[in-house]
């Protein structure tokens, strides 16, 4: 099949940030910080242009509403373990990878642009852009991975870039602690992912001979390998693999998928692995917008979507995805109600929306895959409005030099562009027609309802109300009312290089919902879900309006109502404000139980028994040597005595043996 130029050269999209990362990091950064920013930004801009062209060419090839094939226009052999077990690297082009490429390059390009203004004059300006490019390359490499090994490698690479960027202000102890926390928690989760990959790979290789011949090979492509998604997602493999029992009534397939999901949950910060994400806000705000809101944290959702047929074949794993997602969305939304740090509210809101996406995947099935489309749709719209919220918050923080919303206030007149775009994003996330969030949230709710997950439907509906409430809470407190602190009085609008990305994202947040997403991204045959389902849209809008109204009642004007409500809830309020003490629970488990009861005895054993054994052998040989060196007196007659005595003893022994 003859592909268009960009499809054939799709490898350029991840390659451009990689080249620019090397160039900026090695050569440009030491010479000129200014040019480091410009080169880094323009390379991402070029990659974004390529991604749009790729989308255009792809959907010209497979018009909307039709079956869309996944293509591997470029791949090469990377690791050859033995014949029949080869890992390739390559570029996979299919609807969801294109959506992610468009989202990643767009948001990343805008964040790069915004950072030129935001990071102006900071030390480490060049280093910052180097890391951002590294992240963008890793994320694009993850998105286009045609096999699970390439995805795992890029998965770790985005983890490293996230670590580097959270700890960007490495002279600040809290940032260092946050970066370590993020790395350790996600790495811990990745352990599950890796074991899952190994289980899949082991059985995939074992079943390969019997299953693979049934699968058609693409002309011109490299031969199918056991790690390829196309093989792992094939019904033939899943049927063979799913019939192997494991333990506790789970099939081996479910065990493998749950392990893979552990990695996805770590990266997408699902409860109870969510603790790293709020702390990750220690990084520069544009980084939070790019990595910890729009792109990296959706990698877990993307992985689940990428392996969706495998998850769907294992009903247990899919149920876990649905309920963990639903619970996280509720849990995080409740915490977000009480936080005072603007970035933390947004972080918990991200958690909640990620929970939505996971839940949407969990409630769908191969036959009825509305949730799959809805999840990707929400990922798409959420990337724009959440990046916009973070960038807007960044502009506010840049102006007033604090994260505390109670130190802000009255910024609507001082920062009109930021205010307007922030309002658009807030309306979008609250799900008000015609903004983007309305459409994607509507599909998620419809998917939950049609999948007969009634409990999850009502949870999601309730969360929609909560979302509207806490988002408008920070909106009112930040932008309305009077100035509460000195910084807010002298705030002024950000420069154009920062407001331009805000305006572009504002437009996207407003109109992205009108994209007929289901026509382009669907599992298998086309899902018919045109238009708005009023049975869902009406209660959702009512919930959002109720949230907004309640928020306005408490926060639109300066009043004691909020404080009174907090006093009314008393202890419950404090528990929520302390994030349900999950962090404290982790600290208790790690410090009191793991450190005291496991690590200390092991350390003692290591120091005293293992090291002691080694030291004992060294000490005994050394002592033996120093003691026996006293035998060397230098007195020839003493030696002679030993020699003569020894000869006598020896002769006696020989005599005794022979007689």
């Amino acid at each position: 099949m003859e592909h268009g130029f960009v499809i054939a050269h799709a490898w350029l999209i991840p390659a451009l940030p990689l080249v620019s990362f090397a160039l900026v990091g090695l050569f440009i950064r030491p010479l000129s910080a200014r040019w480091a920013g410009i080169v880094a930004t323009s390379s991402i801009g070029l990659a974004a242009a390529l991604a749009y062209t790729l989308a255009w060419e792809y959907w010209t090839l497979f018009p909307a509403g039709q079956h869309a094939e996944s293509l591997v226009p470029w791949s090469m052999e990377w690791l050859r373990y033995k014949e029949g077990l080869v890992v390739n690297i390559g570029v996979l082009v299919d609807p969801i990878s294109i959506v992610l490429m468009v989202v990643v390059t767009t948001v990343s390009g805008l964040v790069h642009l915004y950072s030129i203004g935001y990071m102006h004059g900071e030390t480490g300006y060049g280093r910052y852009f180097t890391y951002l490019n590294l992240f963008t390359f890793s994320m694009l490499g993850l998105v286009v991975a045609p096999n699970i090994v390439q995805m795992y490698v890029c998965w770790e690479l985005v983890g490293v870039s996230s670590f580097l960027l959270i700890g960007f202000y490495y002279d600040r102890p809290s940032a260092v602690a946050a970066s370590k926390k993020a790395f350790i928690v996600t790495r811990f989760a990745d352990l599950g992912f890796m074991v899952g990959v190994l289980v899949l790979g082991y059985w995939g290789y074992g079943l390969f001979e019997t299953v693979a011949p049934a699968l058609a090979t693409e002309p011109g492509a490299l031969p199918l390998q056991p790690f390829d998604f196309r093989y792992l997602n094939s019904p033939e493999f899943l049927a063979a693999f799913g019939s192997i029992p494991a333990f506790f009534g789970l099939s081996l397939l479910s065990v493998a998928m749950l392990l893979v999901y552990t990695g996805a949950a770590g990266k997408s910060a699902m409860f109870p692995l969510h603790i790293w994400l709020p702390d990750a806000m220690e990084g520069p705000t544009p980084v939070s917008a790019l990595i910890h809101a729009a792109t990296m944290v959706v990698a877990g959702v993307y992985l689940t979507a990428r392996l969706f047929p495998a998850f769907a074949a294992s009903e247990d794993a899919l149920l876990a995805v649905a309920y963990i997602g639903g619970f996280t969305s509720l849990f995080a939304a409740v915490i977000a109600l009480t936080q005072d740090d603007i970035k933390r509210v947004l972080a918990f809101s991200t958690l909640s929306q990620l929970g939505y996406m996971m839940m949407a995947l969990g409630v769908s099935q191969m036959a009825e895959s509305l949730g799959y489309t809805a999840s990707m749709f929400h990922l798409f719209t959420h990337a724009f409005f959440k990046a916009l919220l973070f960038l807007g918050a960044g502009a506010v923080i840049h102006a007033v030099h604090t994260n505390d919303i109670w130190q802000m206030g009255g910024l609507a007149r001082k920062m009109p562009i930021t205010h307007l775009t922030f309002l658009v994003a807030t309306l979008a996330i609250s799900g008000i027609w015609p903004f983007a969030g309305f459409f994607s949230k509507d599909e998620i709710l419809a998917a939950a309802l049609h999948g007969h997950f009634t409990v999850l439907f009502y949870v999601a509906l309730f969360v929609a109300g909560l979302t509207a409430f806490y988002m408008f809470r920070i909106y009112f407190v930040t932008f309305w009312g009077a100035h509460r602190a000195h910084g807010a009085e002298h705030a002024h609008e950000a420069p154009l290089v920062m407001t331009l990305p805000l305006m572009i994202l504002g437009v996207l947040s407003a109109v992205a919902g009108f994209v007929p997403f289901g026509q382009y991204v669907h599992m298998g045959e086309h899902v018919e879900h045109g238009g708005i389902d009023f049975a869902v849209a009406l209660p959702a809008t009512l919930a959002a309006l109720a949230g907004i109204g309640l928020s306005a009642f408490f926060y639109a004007t300066a009043s004691e109502r909020a404080a009174k409500a907090a006093r009314f809830f008393g202890r419950a309020y404090r528990v929520v404000k302390q994030k349900f003490y999950v962090d404290e629970l982790y600290l208790f488990v790690t410090k009191q139980i793991i450190f005291h009861l496991i690590a200390r005895p092991i350390a003692w054993f290591d120091r005293h028994v293992v090291d002691g054994g080694v030291n004992l052998s060294g000490w005994s040989i050394r002592t033996l040597g120093s003691e026996s060196s006293r035998l060397q007196t230098g007195q020839v007659q003493t030696y002679g005595l030993w020699f003569a005595g020894g000869s006598v003893v020896l002769l006696f022994l020989i005599w005794a043996v022979h007689v």
Partner: protein, 110 residues
């Protein structure tokens, strides 16, 4: 007594015992003398006991040959050469240190 001795011709065993006694005296002297010349003399005793063994075995076990006698002459020659070198070394040591006490000669230890 004299007649008894004259009547008795010493045999192989007697000569070997004499040689053993000489060797033992030599070993004792080697290990106990503090003067280097005494040590050298003890070594001469041990060498001579060995030479005596050669001659005795030659006489009693292989009277036709002369191998043992030749070996004895060799031993005497070697002992003479050894004595010359040793005495030269002793003279040098005495000039340098003023003593020939072997217990003070432990420089090879270091």
């Amino acid at each position: 007594m004299t007649t008894f001795l004259a009547a008795q011709t010493p045999g192989l065993t007697h000569w070997i015992v004499l040689s053993g006694v000489l060797f033992a005296i030599g070993v004792y002297g080697l290990l106990t003398r503090r003067n280097a010349i005494g040590v050298l003399m003890s070594i001469e005793l041990m060498l001579n006991s060995a030479a005596l063994n050669f001659v005795v075995f030659n006489h009693f076990r292989a009277p036709a040959g002369v191998d043992g006698q030749i070996m004895a002459i060799f031993v005497i020659a070697v002992a003479a050469a050894e004595a010359v070198i040793a005495m030269a070394i002793f003279v040098a040591i005495y000039r340098r240190r003023g003593t020939l006490d072997v217990t003070s000669m432990d420089a090879l230890k270091d």
